[in-house]
Amino acid sequence: MLLILPIILFLIVFFLIPYANMVYMSFLMKPAEGAYVRQFTLANYARALGDPFHWKVLRNTFWYSILTAAIALVLGYPVAYHLTRASGRRRAWLLVLLISPLLVSVVVRSFGWMILLGRVGLINQLVRSYGGPELALMYNPFGVVVGLVHVYVPFMALAIAGALQNISPDMERAARSLGAGQWRVFWRVTWPLSLPGVFAGTLLVFILAVSSYVIPILLGGSNVLVMPMLIVQMLLDAFNWPLGSALSMVLFGLTGALLWLYVKLLNRALRWSQP
């Protein structure tokens, strides 16, 4: 019992209570001066949900995140497939290549994209040396999505590889021996069996992308505004903790609602696809 007590205490005091406190804060009043007064109000939620500007920011945040999850799936799936089919030593090295970027700071990776995508960046230098026009690759949603996809492909690939790893090779062999071609085996056996990994990966990447902050700032500049940026501005610059907390709750709630919808749709699709 002594082993677990300190950590439970630590998590209650520095994780559960702060979050509970944030929920509480979102119902407090913001006076003209000072941070907050202990008086119950729904005004913060009315403001958070009533402002069409907030909805625009929310829509952008979710749109970039959905796009990121979809592209990361397209890129992550082949990587996972290739990884689980590689033999021992090769697989170990592929994993080093896949996990190393994961452990490099997001700030450093954004910097790499700034060098590549910038107005006088390497790609534009290359294009111009062939007489091409200057391309706007950064400080717009395009740059943000490129950066997000770059960060989340390894997460997606690892989630899918986990599922592919559990498929018995006998299944595929059996399908082959019954005369199914390569693509048929893939679509009828491997892909359906890997779906749990695909769900886990897309959910994870979506959640992570919704709350990303560094990439939208560095690669989006002043042309992109996502929810985490708005919330941090509200807290640190406008010093409005109640409204910042309410906006955080709105982000939580809507993300949860979208995920619930996604899981429901997937379950229905799964039921249809089964004979």
Partner: protein, 269 residues
Amino acid sequence: MRRGPLSGWGLGAAVTLIYVFLLVPILIVVAAAFNAGEYLRFPPQGFSLRWFVRFAQSESFVRAFLFSLQLAVYATLASTLLGTMAALFIVRHARRVRDALRLLMVAPLQFPAILTGIALLIFFYATGMGTRGMRPLFIGHTLVALPYVFLTVSTVLFGFNRSLEEAARSLGAGPFVTFRRITLPLIKGGIISGALFAFITSFDQFPISLLLISVGNTTLPIALFDYLRFSYEPTAAAVSTVSVLLSVAIVLLIQRLVGLEAVSWGGPR
């Protein structure tokens, strides 16, 4: 050896391109750090270490670097101790509440770090602790590093053969001797890997730090971020390169100690 149905050239080429996409932005930063010119041009203008010298001479970067190292060491020690204890308890002793406890242990990983940072900021002000000094950062970093230690040590413990411990006990060893001589050496690799994950999580931590730093206590990622918002000259690349090398060293160490495969899809993500 398992050969899949789609192991042809097409898949190989596509996957190679994706790995290039993953690695190029990182390699380009390293290349920029060793480039002699003021700006990064293609082709590069010769090899030079001048930007590393500039880094070493920059007081703000060096101070942030040392501060980050110190903070990461403290957060690693705390999260490794707490996380290992929790893993031992949950894997071995918890029965009915095991799932609930596991959920609680990994919760800091599931919640967006930026919102956790905000919650902590408000909490520290509300309780009068404030955000001065290293303490708030230490708490925040320990919090987000904990799940990694817990998951890695749990993974090792699940694959652990308990008959060795029973043998030691039956030969007359007490619980502490058994732990020190049998259990600890066997799960050492897992603990060290967890600690390495915790270290890099803290050293690279951004969202929590952004909200909890105070004047004079800036971490390296924040210093780099502030710098990049206004300019990107190669000193930042030299700083980044040091951080990249640290990450690569840690990946290779974990690979040697327990194998990346065990920690990538052995336990929950």
